[in-house]
Amino acid sequence: MEIKKTSLNKLHQTNNAKFVEFAGYEMPIQYNKGIIEEHKFTRSHSGIFDVSHMGQLFIYGDHNLTEELEKIFPLDLKNLKQNSSKYSFLMNEEAGIYDDLIITKIEKGYLIILNAACKDKDFEILSNILGNKFKMNLDNNKSLIALQGPKSVEILNSIINGVDQLNFMTGKWFDSDNQKLFVTRSGYTGEDGFEISISNDGAEKFVQNLIEKGAQLTGLGARDTLRLEAGLCLYGHELDINKTPVEANLKWAISKSRLSNGGFIGSEKIMNQMQNGANQIRVGIKPEGRLIAREKTKIFNDVDTQIGEITSGTFGPSVNGPIAMGYVDKDFSKVDTKILLEVRGKKYPANICALPFYKKNYAKGVN
């Protein structure tokens, strides 16, 4: 299959991107300055991320749509205000995660942001459940740009007046340069920031404008170190079809009002795990010293029994040390539990630690 390119591909090339294939797309992993510089610039200024490979699914319908979506997502969508966003999951009957997503209530419907590798399958699953009662559009004519970091609000507001009034996890349509843009105050780096949905035709000019205002292109490499420092899950690593939201320690994302009556796909398993606990749970892990423990590293207790596995691990530039996330048996999931990591045939000490590794710096209106 031919590799897909986003509308910003040429701009990435002009800026000397190093490309990798990600979910069938040619995406920039880094630019000239490298992952650590890009990471730090996002934490101190403002990083621009091309996330156009992600799916933008618009679903339109009447009040029945909300009812139908509540049978799928563990959210209180009836009481979700228009323009508000929630983090959620698409699950199977066993509460295994097909995808994690952000859903925003918009006029006459919902916008759901899906992972690139999952979006086509998600669309198929949702189409099968919803039938043809609602208008569904996985919009390939739109690009998605994330702008993340403390200077993002100032920069974006100088281009799209009014975005500074958005609370965290809300979004709405704006007009700018004769275009309709959907802007949400959100992101996946642990910083204040925005995600901007814009037509493919207008994306390059828009990003050029952001660069002129002082933001800097940032690749997927830094996106990964940023999200890991912020303790955020990446689908295919922390999350997959064999993990449930309870195991992934994402209970907070399940609306309390839905836990008593269930009625969503996977609700029985979720309610059971909420009561009885899960056997394995996602935790933060800090190796001692500088050792980096990557995905699939085996985790042991002090009597040499394997108790889990790392799902993501790298060097955290802002933490200035190695960090990881993984799943361990619940008995070993307490903060400060001493564990051992097997790297290149040797075992090294590490500690279970609280998430996030890097403290969030979100805008007003958090939770």
Binding site: I35, I36, G221, T225, R290, I292, F315, P322
Partner: protein, 126 residues
């Protein structure tokens, strides 16, 4: 000190008496990106030509470091273990990896000179 020689695994090597100093090339560091971890062989161990003799890790991935010649490890550069970013800053100078007491100096003969290596690196990168 001898002329700098290079291996296909992107190590450089110089020889002074029978002691070789080995590190990774600038080209290697550019391919790896920001280096955040280095592991070196222990002093006193014997390493074999083309065998692994360390590890470097970038934010993205781990890579083995090979030794282009055989010998006994007589010194290692603790400074790059303590601050691996030094490897990106001065890979072919102060950020050497280890020193070997060579057994067979003829092993140097099969390695590339600078001109040959630059050509090799350029071709292998494309």
């Amino acid at each position: 000190m001898s002329e700098v020689k290079f291996s296909k695994e992107h190590e450089w090597i110089t020889l002074e008496g029978d002691v070789a100093t080995i590190g990774i090339t600038k080209h290697a560091t550019e391919m790896l990106g920001d280096i955040v971890f280095a592991e070196l062989p222990e002093k006193g161990t014997n390493v074999e030509k083309d065998g692994t003799a360390g590890v470097v890790e970038s934010t993205k991935a781990a890579s083995d470091v090979y030794t282009p010649v055989s010998g006994e490890v007589v010194d290692t550069n603790q400074a790059i273990v303590d601050d691996p970013s030094k490897i990106n800053e001065d890979p072919e100078g102060s950020a050497w990896f280890f020193k070997l007491k060579m057994k067979d100096q003829s092993e140097m003969d099969s390695l590339m000179n600078k001109e040959e290596y630059d050509k090799f690196a350029k071709e292998s990168a494309s």
